[in-house]
């Protein structure tokens, strides 16, 4: 290890290599629950430097873990003891913006919101808008296939990535995908999006930029039952009006948010829906009317329409502060992330409340209703003996309920370590084997982010190196 540190230091200098126990401790965790072991931390500033550090790690048999801003919730960037942790925050240059083709080549360390701000004067933005968008990196978004409220109409990150430059496990640099609409050969770009640092380190990204909308309105609709709200969601989608975003929050969540930011959310409704309609003025007016009609027909007790920018911003601030609001309730939180068919939202939510009650934990719900991506949030105090175990067990049951209702494990936060062992509940051994083979094709020796995404023994016929 000492040798590796010397070589890394010779390459990057003292300041960009860290092995002091305190630094190692600070980098052993992301925004999720689990703390890993002590890594050697490096801060490369170019693709070549990434390739060189990967080679050094390879020569010393060190596992390699990529890290962006560390806002991940699934433990994806959490290193195991003795890993090389490659921090990509300094690779935050926007290399070029093609205004006409609406694309940009950016470094993986560029912060999501910074990219949209940098392209705002050209009337463009990067569409995926995770609630963490002010902090998380494009590299992290690519690696987790991040989603956000506005991905309902625009699609998640995968729909906005045209190509990537990747440093592979052996330290070579390849470009996958590109500007052409249909690049010949396999779509390896698509494989990289969502790969959580297990197939290579993304060192440059070709993103698709989206035109800013001319007109926008936000609707806040309140309901007496979650069923009414859920039915509204289904009917809206069935009517063929796909709002840019369609979010649901239940009563405990609204109460917490109101306490926190006073955005004017009703605190007596069982559920609220927050919808964004974007487009040309004529279109938005029609959509507002249609949405309001459907909501009222399904029992909405109030519909508030915000058209001016500051009122819209305030309503969205409420939604985007949900995680913070819950943080007020107790020192720790656990955020689930599953997807269920829209028709079964109400049923799954009432089951999650039953589970929460059984485990005696505090639960609130906020989620991307439009695509059925649920985020049950548990707030708790990890210092209470046995609490973390209880929360994790309850979370697992909630995932099981979602999967049983025809859902899946992760909507957008990734599998990482958190949900790795649940993969076998949605995939057959053959499915997992196929995934493991793909991973092996990129990383024969299993050095890239080992222990993440796929459970041990995913490979049915384990003849390759473990």
């Amino acid at each position: 290890m000492a040798r590796a540190v010397d070589e890394l230091t010779a390459l990057l200098g003292d300041d960009r290599v860290r092995d002091h126990p305190l630094d190692q401790h600070l980098f052993a965790k992301d925004a999720g629950l689990r703390r890993g072991g002590a890594p050697i931390v490096v801060f490369p500033e170019s693709s070549d430097e990434v390739a060189a550090v990967v080679k050094i790690a390879g020569a010393h048999g060190m596992p390699i873990v990529a890290r962006g801003a560390g806002t991940g919730l699934a433990g994806g960037a959490v290193p195991q003891e003795g890993s090389l942790l490659v921090v990509l925050t300094r690779m935050n240059r926007i290399f070029e913006i093609d205004e006409v083709g609406r694309t940009a080549w950016v470094g993986p360390g560029v912060v999501n919101l910074d990219l949209s701000e940098a392209t705002a004067d050209r009337g463009l933005h990067f569409a995926p808008d995770p609630s963490s968008q002010s902090a998380c990196t494009i590299g992290g978004n690519v690696a987790t296939n991040a989603g956000g409220p506005h991905c309902l109409a625009e699609g998640s990150t995968v729909a906005h990535i045209l190509g990537v430059e990747l440093v592979t496990a052996d330290g070579s640099t390849v470009i996958l995908g590109g500007e052409a609409p249909d690049t010949p050969g396999y779509d390896l770009r698509g494989v990289i999006v969502g790969s959580e640092g297990t197939l290579g380190i993304v060192t440059k990204v070709l993103v698709r930029l989206t035109e800013n909308h001319l007109d926008a309105a936000t609707l806040l609709m309140a309901f007496d039952t979650i069923e009414d709200a859920a039915r509204t969601v289904s009917e809206v989608i069935a009517a063929g009006v796909v709002p840019a975003a369609l979010e649901m929050m239940d009563k405990p969540m609204c109460v917490a948010v109101e306490n926190f930011v006073q955005a004017g959310y009703p605190t007596d409704a069982a559920a609220v829906l927050l919808a964004d309609v974007l487009g040309h003025p004529a279109g938005t007016a029609a959509s507002i009317e249609l949405l309001s009609d459907i909501a009222v027909r399904n029992g909405a007790t109030s519909v508030r329409v915000a058209t001016d920018e500051s009122e819209r911003a305030l309503l969205w601030k409420g939604r985007k502060s949900a995680f913070g609001a819950i943080a007020q309730a107790a020192p720790d939180y656990y955020l689930n992330d599953t997807v269920v068919p829209r028709t079964r939202i109400a049923e799954v939510i009432s089951k999650t409340y039953e589970i929460a009650e059984r485990y005696d934990i505090t639960l609130m719900n906020v989620f991307h209703a439009g695509d059925g991506n649920l985020h049950p949030l548990v707030s708790f105090d990890a210092a209470e003996p046995g609490m973390t175990e209880r929360v994790v067990a309850a979370a697992r049951e909630m995932v099981t309920v979602a999967v049983a209702a025809g859902g899946t494990l992760s909507g957008e936060h990734g599998i990482g370590f958190e949900k790795r062992d649940l993969m076998s509940s949605v995939f057959s051994p053959e499915d997992l084997d196929a995934q493991a083979r793909l991973r092996e094709a990129f990383d024969q020796d299993g050095v890239l982010n080992p222990g993440k995404v796929l459970p041990e023994g995913s490979r049915c016929f384990d003849w390759g190196p473990a």
Binding site: R18, H20, P21, L22, D23, H25, L26, F27, K29, D30, A31, F43, A69, G70, T71, V87, T89, R90, N92, G109, V111, L113, D114, S132, S134, A135, C136, F260, S321, F323, G324, A325, A327, Q328, P331, D332, Y333, D381, A383
Partner: protein, 409 residues
């Protein structure tokens, strides 16, 4: 070994952090380095590691804490409302207690001791005034070089302490003036503006003799015991005054945070000059002047904007003076002055100072308003003499007195 002082970050303060990382992008040191160890979350994690006995207060811990500007931008965006500034003062007190070294001892003697000795401040001011007149100021090293950012210091060195100013008619009430340590000799025009405006609004102004430095710089440098002494002395000096006006944002923030918590405490009676003047304008006790005086760039001192959440007031004051306030940065990034930070981290301080100066220059405004002496000096150091740096209240007083002269004619 854990913590050794009563100032240490508490478990409650530290547990409030949920590791979400939303504070990272607004932190100047994280922006410059992309380094978790230079981020609010990293600093809190380091404190928690000591609190839990996993790590000790060693040199690396000291470095990580010392690199923080204590600008408190992280507090504003934190969804969990972590009291970062308080926790960091505690961590710095621990560093000073557990890692005695010459550099920190020197800073403690300056900020914890010398600033409250009026004779020493006056003597230093005479020396600075002399240096300014001989023209060697810009070439002096370290702290001394900072006097390049000072306003010309009048000779004899002025002081407000122990003086009283009466309004023209019968006083509506009395307001106490917090004189400050270097504010008094170095920024006397700001005091004059505040005093004259309060007189105009009908108040008697009293600057109690026995007051002393607020202790903010001492607290930021980990000299927590000295800082507590100073607060105590000020609590006594300002007993009996319902309102205490403070015209340096760093001092008003510190007194509000440290001088007690209950309704009658000094903390509750302190107002920043920008708050007081803006409210007097709003209620009509001070005039709104209808002259177009052109644009003024606004620099928000961290301890005004982040620590006290005062944002609208300086803008309202400038508008009332006839200026158009021009925003220079939406997030209110620290200018790098950060009290004594320039001494320990000149490169970072200069980099932030240059960025701030560039933002001001881009607006094309020939005046920049800042409500804190440290920021003012930093701006002046990084801008050339064609851009004037002034306190918003001072600009407003000029406009008011000019309007009076015109009216008088």
């Amino acid at each position: 070994m854990g913590w050794v002082t009563e100032w240490a970050p508490t478990k409650v303060e530290l547990d409030a952090c949920i590791d979400c990382g939303l504070c990272l992008p607004v932190c100047p040191t994280f922006q410059l380095t992309g380094d978790e160890a230079a981020s609010p979350r990293g600093r809190l994690t380091a404190m928690r590691a000591v609190d839990e006995g996993i790590m000790v207060v060693d040199e690396r811990f000291g470095e990580i804490m010392d690199f923080c500007l204590q600008c408190r931008a992280c507090e504003v965006v934190c969804p969990s409302m972590v009291p970062f500034g308080r926790a960091m003062e505690g961590a710095k007190a621990e560093v000073v207690a557990q890692l005695p070294d010459a550099r920190r001892a020197f800073k403690r003697s300056v900020f914890g001791r010398a600033l409250r000795v009026r004779g020493l401040v006056t003597m230093a001011s005479w020396m600075a005034a002399g240096a300014q007149r001989t023209g060697i100021a810009p070439r002096l090293p370290g702290l001394l070089g900072r006097i390049a950012g000072l306003r010309p210091i009048p000779i004899p060195v002025p002081s407000t302490r122990g003086r009283t100013w009466d309004p023209d008619g019968i006083p509506k009430g009395t307001i106490a003036l917090f004189s400050g340590c270097v504010m008094d000799p170095w920024f006397s025009e700001v005091h004059v503006a505040v005093i004259q405006l309060l007189r105009t609004a009908g108040f008697r102004v009293v600057a109690p003799e026995k007051q002393t430095c607020c202790g903010a710089l001492a607290a930021h440098e980990g000299a927590a015991y000295d800082a507590a002494d100073m607060v105590e002395r000020n609590v006594q000096a300002f007993e009996g005054f319902d309102t205490v006006v403070v015209d340096a944002a760093g001092c008003s923030a510190h007194l509000k945070a440290h001088a007690g918590g209950d309704g009658a405490s000094l903390a509750a009676r302190v107002v920043d000059a920008t708050e007081l003047v803006a409210s007097l304008i709003a209620e009509g006790s001070l005039p709104t002047i209808d002259v177009d005086r052109g644009p003024v760039a606004i620099q928000d001192p961290c301890h005004l904007r982040h620590a006290q959440r005062i944002v609208d007031e300086p803008r309202a004051i400038l508008r009332a003076a006839g200026y158009q306030p021009v925003e220079i940065d939406t997030h209110g990034m620290c200018c790098g002055a950060a009290g004594a930070y320039q001494l320990s981290h000149p490169e970072t301080s200069d980099e932030l100072g240059r960025r701030k100066a560039d933002q001001v220059r881009t607006t094309g405004a020939k005046i920049v308003a800042s409500a804190n002496p440290g920021c003012e000096m930093q701006l002046r150091t990084h801008l050339d003499a064609t851009v004037r740096v002034a306190h918003p209240v001072e600009l407003y007083w000029e406009a008011v007195s000019e309007a009076r002269v015109i009216a008088g004619n």
